[in-house]
Amino acid sequence: MSLLERFRSLAHPGAEHVEDAPFVRLRGVRANYNGVVALEDIDFELHGGEQVAVVGPNGAGKSTLFKVIAGIHPPSRGTAQMRGSDPRGHICIAYLPQRNEVDWRFPVTVQDVVMMGRVSKLGLFRRPKAKEWAIVRECLALVNLGDLAGRQISELSGGQQQRMFIAQALAQEAELLMMDEPLNGLDAPSQDEVFKILETLKQRGVTVLVAMHDLGLAARRFDRVLLLNRRLVGFGRPPDVFTEDHLRAAYGGHLQMVETPEGTLVLNDTCCDDDPAHAH
């Protein structure tokens, strides 16, 4: 790419969406992370507008899978496509950070963070005008943060911070939204708030992938789940995916099945041992 082209790419038009192409399609994907094979033989398709929980033990490759789909970590083998083309050409993919990855002291307000989603739409050398700020306000209203637009981001609660990033994805006009452990460290009411907004996203036709640890929550809240442990262990309706064979394949020795009078209880002790927010 010439220097001029690279400068022009600061104002990005986004790739064409091919009619009838699958929304997201991975074929034989292998991806390395820090020299280790993190994903192998991954094949699946996502339908536009569906919401899928991605579950698996720590180090299963959930984040790497998201990076491959987002086009920021090219697979070493196989192909990833969004709507018929390389994801690297698309500006409608949002991959929200985990809350512990964010510098909350950064000098920005809630509305500034949401406005960042508009940057590639705005284009080079353009400042946001009244029309752009109206879009930002609209997105903040959709996630019930209208009143906090002018707050510095560290003043928000965990649930509000998560909703702020969803508003940023809305401002980006994202058609695919990926969230890495958005429920970590949130209390039950805040989790409910996030699920309420996922419902809004469903109505707007946004495709959503959520990486999470809690298998029960995934089964209750999502129509489809993707069980991952380096390879794709299962993908489909929760009762079809969360079978004993699949769970053993994914969690191995870390999983304990306890027979109780009420049924089988699955204990997963790999969860969160490095995450103080989840310390028991």
Partner: protein
């Protein structure tokens, strides 16, 4: 209201007029670039990079027989080369970023000292490069500071929102398909250019203070990026002026005086911030 004599008296000297103008201009450019140095956690680079341009300065000095022009071009080439070199080395990811900076920084600085020690009267000249001499600024230096400073400032403002996204969330920048490597290299080159124009004012050893202290001071007092940059520029300009007056009346080195005023501003802001936090906790 007439200005008091103690304010006016130093202005009778041309070297003070030029020095003040240079200190203010350099301070503002350093503060604007320094905002991103602070936000991206690049303070170590901000210390290393000025040291690493010493061989460029020395080579320019040797080749040009002490003339200003070659020294300047030498430092410019060394600054840009080192900035991009550190960028390339750290992206390889086989060496940790701070180790890469440390290696480059010490190696280049040693080369610079080796070159300078081959000049006979090196003790005097080394001090000059290390600590700067803003009162020795010439009219042509001022033009250079103004020109390069304007270039750096306009580039920062033109790519303001891109640099903001890059600094806040690199992954967002990538999914928005901003050219992250290009932007990172641009930022490194802007830091390198800033160092070249600040060389005369505070010198190599104290440069990091000009990049970091005003921006860090502003970060304690502001909650939005454009305000942080504005306040940082204000703190730096004030420190430049107050520092030179301090230097004039107390007969201390100009670069050191500027940095001392900067540091005092930071401590005041820090105390103010700590007091406010305590009041909030109490009530």
């Amino acid at each position: 209201m007439p200005m008091p004599a103690w304010l006016l008296d130093p202005l009778a000297y041309t070297f003070m007029q030029r020095g003040l103008l240079a200190a203010v201009l350099v301070g503002i450019v350093c503060a604007l670039v320094g905002t991103f140095v602070v936000l991206r956690g690049m303070a170590f680079l901000g210390d290393a990079l000025p040291h690493a341009i010493l061989p460029g300065v020395a080579a320019g000095y040797l080749l040009g027989g002490g003339a200003r022009g070659p020294v300047l071009w030498g430092s410019l080439v060394a600054a840009v080369f080192t900035a991009l070199g550190i960028g390339a080395l750290t992206r390889g990811a086989r060496i940790k970023e701070d180790s890469a900076i440390g290696i480059f920084f010490a190696g280049m600085f040693a080369l610079g000292i080796a070159l300078i020690s081959s000049i006979r009267s090196y003790a005097v000249d080394l001090t000059h490069f290390l600590f700067g001499n803003v009162l020795g600024v010439t009219a042509s230096d001022l033009w250079l500071i103004g020109g390069l400073g304007a270039l750096v400032t306009l580039t920062l403002l033109a790519f303001y929102k891109e640099f903001m996204v890059l600094s806040f969330d690199t992954r967002l920048a990538a999914t928005l398909r901003l050219p992250t490597n290009l932007l990172e290299n641009m930022l490194l080159v802007l830091i390198a250019l800033t160092i070249v124009i600040a060389l005369q004012t505070v010198g190599i050893a104290l440069m990091v203070a000009m990049l970091v202290t005003p921006a860090a001071t502003a970060s304690l007092l502001t909650h939005r990026l454009h305000w942080m940059m504005t306040v940082a520029a204000g703190v730096a300009a004030f420190s430049g002026v107050a520092g030179l007056y301090l230097s004039f009346y107390a007969s201390i080195a100009s670069g050191a005086a500027i940095v001392l005023v900067c540091t005092a501003c930071f401590l005041l802001a820090w105390a103010f911030q700590a007091g406010r936090a305590r009041r909030q906790a109490a009530g």
